[in-house]
């Protein structure tokens, strides 16, 4: 489609199926205004906030995630896409609370002490929220007591830790070791992520799983929560 034709596209004239596909494209291209417009159109047509979130936004970001993983998209494009999704989420979030969207679990998330790089952490938090998890975002540079305090206070199910630096990622082990010392390690699902990590590192520090991207984090969290419920 030429730019001119794209400029002429009137979202409200598309049927639901076409509009959702167009929103996937708009998310891919990081077009925040178009995403906000698409969300409002679907709301006007009687879609539930939860359906818009999952079928238009989360599915669109899933596609973005796949192309990022395959080296087709790079960090700047993912950030633009995430910015567009955020715009859609801002409209939907208050409505999701009102309409009682399903809650899959509660996650405490933050970057570890000494690390201020929060792009990955923010992406994971947004995608987890989109998938139906309640997120307690501790932000950046978290010492062990912040993580553990939040886990207990919030009665969370999942701890998510993120690090971008090879110099800060060992701190994840400090947190997990402290959970063990306090005898509460098994009460939480511990997921770790960040560019320099890998599965081997995740295992070596005693995490439940290393998640290489936000989509994997969501799927992994869902699997672990399902197992937890089966055990219960």
């Amino acid at each position: 489609m030429s730019d001119e034709e794209e400029d002429d596209l009137i979202l409200d004239e598309l049927d639901d199926g076409e509009l959702v596909l167009q929103m996937h494209d708009d998310l891919y291209d990081g077009m925040a205004d178009e995403i906000a417009e698409g969300v409002n159109i679907l709301l006007k047509r009687g879609w539930t906030p939860y359906d818009i979130l999952t079928k238009a936004l989360v599915e669109g970001m899933r596609i973005v995630g796949i192309d990022f993983r395959d080296g087709i998209l790079f960090v700047p494009e993912v950030l633009l896409a995430a910015g567009a999704m955020k715009r859609g989420m801002e409209i939907l979030k208050p409505l999701l609370v009102e309409t009682g969207a399903p809650q899959l679990g509660k996650m405490v998330i933050g970057t570890v002490k000494g690390d201020i790089h929060d792009i990955g952490k923010n992406l994971v938090a947004m995608m987890m929220e989109g998938a139906g998890f309640e997120i307690i975002d501790l932000g950046i540079n978290n010492p062990v007591e912040d993580y553990i305090g939040a886990l207990k206070r919030e009665k969370a199910d999942i701890l998510g830790m993120s690090a971008l630096l090879t110099t800060t990622m060992p701190y994840m082990k400090t947190v997990i070791d402290t959970l063990k010392e306090q005898g509460i390690r098994d009460e939480y699902i511990v997921l770790v992520g960040g560019a320099p990590l890998n599965e081997e590192f995740g295992k070596s520090i005693g995490a439940d799983a290393y998640c290489r991207d936000a989509a994997v984090a969501v799927e992994t969290a869902k699997e672990f929560m399902a197992r937890k419920h089966n055990q219960g």
Partner: protein
Amino acid sequence: MPTTLILACGALAREVLALIELNGWQHMELRCLPAELHLHPERIPDAVEAAVRAARGAYSRIFVAYADCGTGGRLADRCKTLGVEMIAGPHCYSFFEGNEAFAARGEVTSFYLTDFLARQFDAFVWKPMGLDNHPELRDLYFGNYEKLVYLAQTEDAGLTKAAREAAERLGLEFERRFTGYGDLQAAIRAYKV
């Protein structure tokens, strides 16, 4: 006839050459791997191994002028397997300042430039982050940083100006610290004849 190969990150080329000249280390030869590896640390161990294997036989000693550089210990493991030594420390920011002094500062919210990065700011920072096309992403990347610290290896007013401008473009405070060659000099000096 050179007997020692210094296999270095391209971002250290000028500095290693300057040290060779300054100290009259005629027995040393420099070979560089592309500085772009700086942006893909996961590729560094394989690249170093290939270069070491290719150079073996032509030199009596090989020194790898890389620190850990984001490889999470994997480069150190590879060097150990290959039987070659490398620079101690997490990265060039640290060994230029001196590993002990750098660690003692415990800075979390500083973004660092060296002479190389001040000179190549657009090619190695601005463009790879997509800021040439999307400057609106700047605060997503740098919003948690407070200052840009220029770790200067040389006295160069032009580079200081470039580093100061980089700080302005990133919306960060600016600080210049003269480091000279720091631990790099000592690491290479160990290979003098």
